[in-house]
Symmetry: D2
Subunit: 379 residues, 4 copies
């Protein structure tokens, strides 16, 4: 029988006015596998404490910084087993390493780090650690993306030829000053990629996840359309995959009319699929020469991999938070197996540090290609 | 500052192979306001215990029946403050009364009861009790339904003339034997209404919630298309509202191609809205004579009432579970206020026992009208 | 080989500022089977002549009234073979009879007449005549409606249980004074039905056409929401068909956000279809228990009846005018066969005077039922 | 008053089993401005005659080749005023020149020619001729594309930054042998571009038409996925426009699930639009920071340029044939003005030979760029 003792979770970042911290907390609660018991919720001690109180954390376990938290929690008998890292990108590496070296599992937001060098260091730290590392490329948690992956793998689409992936938003269309915008457009906190780092990595990760294709090289044309912006806010990328498939990736944060429009289309010699994140409970599948079919999460034709991460019947929409929670749930499966020293069950799927490194390489390749007039860069 | 101590929750029904019990549990967890600590999860003691163990409940608080649970929990210092009732309809009344008379708040699934007589008894019991009664007409928890209600109330649509509401499913298209189908098509457990009780009450409740209209009379033509079925599986209803508005309601569980297709359209002399539950993050709004606008949850034009129950930004879809959680969250707001004896805050909105009674009256009126060749029945 | 000599066509009504006259003219041209050579285009002689000149008609064949036209054209060696009648409803009967009695084929706009009595007279006149009578219930010309009919007939949906048909517009939401609105809301010109006559007849005809079901009885609740309006602008109708199927029909001209939203849904025990006129090149088909399929005009799965009236490949949208032209083309097939005295080819399908009579009976039944508090009226 | 005498039209190509010839004929008839009176309908004399008879052409004006037709018709008193050229690409130039040099107006299908050299020759021939040259980039005939162009021009979108245009089909997903496929995949008849020539030119033309942007350079990655295919069947193109806007163009004929999926999205600093050809009566427009609006052809917010080419009210869908007919109608406006020697009226808009040359340059640039590993090619 499954061990249902909740996993003791800590959090780094995610103070009162953060966006993604709140998402991680909800995600950790949905399936009841985690209990948040400690936090270093802000780089400002006062805010850290206030945020902890608002969440009902024990003041003794509300820390001023992640190092103190890692050190003390590692010594507690009922210290945290896992930590969620939800800070700006440039803090990920140091924070993650503090916990990894103490054997505390890490659930880290994406992109992996702010620099490729940091990413490589972190990979090494993870290799040295016995703890698990889970990266929240949350879109891979959508049941229909699991299904798409299974359909590609079993040949429903035939040999893959063309990948069209795009991720469009409009919230940075004009110069903006909010906290969310501020750190995301600051190279010191975000890294070398703007839209490429923030959302392009999601698009690239999802395309890779579903198709299983390895990128061979890319050609990228990056733009910063808003005056004074230091990082790209729009990017056009052509991709060549190992084995001959080709793709295009468009990411933009300056496309009015798009809230969070991640879309993936994959075409093979036997069929095609088309999925949009904003309406994630539906996916088009067309076997070549037959009528288009609208597959639904939980509906007719659901595959085993999709059913495994589906909570409620078709027509009862699951959303972004459930997909995010699925990553947490997969992490829980692995962590619970790990308690008695067992391996992660085979069915469990989550984005790893290796996916995180690929994301950083993707950003790096985009930036280098664009600097060379969109010349091809090997991946 | 808000009291963040989780509310101690018990559950009646919702054992291992139930659908709606799992939904209630997730809903109770999403916002972190409840902790499930006790249960009488099945009418079969063995299953009740196994289900409790699977949920990690203390065996001492895993009860064989709801009476025992109500009696003992009421005496415990840290006994449950609220109970979720998620059994077949015919058990609701007795279970709810057991807790109400002990001052334990009730969160009850819909429809209120299986008979109108039971509903009336329960209303009296609730009036005698100091405890709160929350009915999970969960579709009223969708942010855009809150917004629609606010828009109607402030006159964006002008005087309401026409209401079109429908709720179509297809899972009972053929004779079926599953547990979910079994009790829903059994008059002894479900009551006099089939599709009218199971989903028609949702449709009626949502239309009433959004428009604020009071039903004056209805004319209903009910059918049981599947051979041997004792309860309606399809219903056509014409409605007349106080003040002159008219409406149609269609509910069906035999409409192939419909998973859970609840749709509400409201038309006034200044504008119209159109919303579909299967894609709940979007709502059409047309001010008469202007282009149609696609309003999004969390997007441009969001109203205060919608924003109040919105967790994440536009384009990051919230779904059925979040809407359900909003009912739980509203219940939490009321319960926490109630701890020190305060009133429910004014902004808090949830379906009450009075809505539950109206739902039962709706089913009763449909059945009576249909028996009289769809003659008009006063409401 | 098909006789490709264009059919000589006359027109009654359809002067300069008319809507439907222009539609008929385009429809008559699309497939090149007709040539407009004569007209009595307006009840105002001056306007009739100006309209004729604008269309390039021979002034000698531009008539001041339909009687003169019928009389003279019947005597000409190259007189018109067919006439299109596109006046307000109250003129249809007299005009049609003038041509029918002279053996000139009639293509008449719907509804058939303004009164049921007129309709019955016209039916008799048509029976006495050797000429053909074609009623332009144009929506039956859409390829996917032909396909739907074929699919129902061959059993793809199983036994039909439920018909949901609606036709919503918003152009009469407020009191209005244009010419199109004026005659349509005037009982003297339109007849007893407002929205029921103008668009309800289309909806009823289309539902009948696709399902092949015969109406047994109906219950109708009609409203005139706009102050001072003499005819219904919104109607709710419940229907019982011979054989046990049931249906609902909603027609409205006061539903903001609807331009010309005719939608037909049909559900049987094996499957369901769903089609919307505003995007007529797509139709949903769900075989029960399988994923929804989006059938396209000209696409995979097209049936013979659809292919027969399809001009261009899938993805190249055909629209309202092509569907209308298909009625004209069917008329042409019949007329050309009739030239040497042959019967209409079996494959040819068009709405007949009998459909027209049923439409008038539908309006009459709606009005009578509504007057009796929506009591059931036999059909 | 407008001269309503129909324009005498001839046709080169378009014999019995052709696709686009039939489209041109319907397009020429819809608005009643042309009458087809002569043809050289096939390169096979027998088929040419049979095709002429099937169309009801005078056998004396059914020619075996276009040269004979041009020569004789030019001498006839009532000879053709205009000719439609609807052959495979490689015949366009010679045919067009035969008519241009005799002062007969040319309406030519796209792409302009099969080689850039031919295109340049044809441009010179057109410059020497007094006759008009109209290229049927038919998608510019859609009312909402006229509206989009007007909206961009008047600044509704602000300064244009990003253009996303795509044109996906699936009919060449597998090796195929039909006549339509045969010539389109044969370099000798089609030219150097496969999908780029057949549909990429449409996409490029439409994007240019709507935005008014001039292409500065492009980088193209072309593929021929189907074994043995000599021309590209999929193309990825990055574009840089004069003034700083950037774009992506994807065209494919191997994307299962796409019938004729031309889509144009344009984003500026004040708003964005999104339009899909398969549902051409709707266009999304989002003013930055406001709700998305669904503009409809003929609906609220229609612009003058759209209204000018709109035949019927909103909700009554116009389609591909009407858009095509609009190009014919624009040609008619110009030709009728030209009869008495007047200039083309200012409001008249149609694709010209200059657009045709740009299309050929686009194909040429794509092919050259792809041959240089997708290096940037100046336009």
């Amino acid at each position: 029988m499954t061990d249902v003792t909740p996993i003791r979770l800590g959090m780094v970042g995610g103070g009162n006015d953060a966006f993604i911290g709140g998402v991680h907390r909800i995600a950790s609660r949905i399936d009841g596998r985690f209990r948040l018991v400690a936090g270093a919720l802000s780089s400002t001690p006062e805010k850290a404490r206030a945020s902890g109180a608002a969440l009902g954390l024990d003041p003794a376990r509300t820390y001023d910084d992640f190092d103190a938290m890692a050190a003390r929690e590692a010594r507690l008998k009922d210290g945290i087993e896992a930590v969620a890292i939800v800070t700006p990108n440039n803090v990920h590496a140091a924070a993650a390493m503090a916990f990894l070296k103490r054997g505390i599992h890490v659930i880290c937001d994406k992109p992996l780090t702010s620099t490729l060098a940091d990413a490589r260091k972190l990979v090494k730290a993870a290799e040295r650690s016995n703890a698990l590392f889970v990266l929240t490329h949350n879109y891979t948690g959508y049941p229909l993306m699991r299904q798409a992956r299974e359909m590609v793998a079993r040949g429903d689409l035939g040999k893959i030829r063309v990948v069209q992936v795009e991720y469009a938003q409009d919230w940075l269309t004009q110069a903006t000053t909010g906290k969310q915008a501020a750190w995301r457009t600051d190279p010191a906190q975000s890294g070398a990629g703007g839209s490429t780092g923030d959302i392009g990595t999601h698009a690239f990760n999802l395309a890779s996840f579903v198709t299983g294709l390895e990128l061979e090289s890319l050609s990228a044309d990056l733009q910063a359309f808003v005056g004074g912006r230091q990082l790209d806010d729009n990017a056009h990328v052509m991709m060549r995959f190992v084995g001959g498939a080709r793709g295009m990736l468009w990411c933009s944060q300056v496309a009015p009319g798009n809230e969070n429009a991640l879309r993936l289309r994959v075409y093979g010699d036997k069929g095609g699929i088309d999925w949009e994140q904003e309406n994630p409970n539906q996916m088009w599948f067309t076997p070549y020469g037959e009528p288009k079919r609208l597959l639904t999460r939980g509906g007719a034709g659901s595959t085993a991999d999709a059913a495994r991460v589906t909570r409620i019947p078709g027509g009862h929409p699951e959303g972004y938070l459930e997909a995010f929670a699925t990553i947490y749930n997969e992490a829980a499966e692995a962590i619970v197996a790990h308690r008695p020293g067992k391996k992660t069950p085979e069915a469990v799927v989550y984005p790893t540090i290796s996916d995180g490194l690929k994301g950083m390489q993707f950003v790096d390749a985009c930036v280098r290609s664009s600097a060379r007039n969109a010349g091809w860069v090997k991946f």
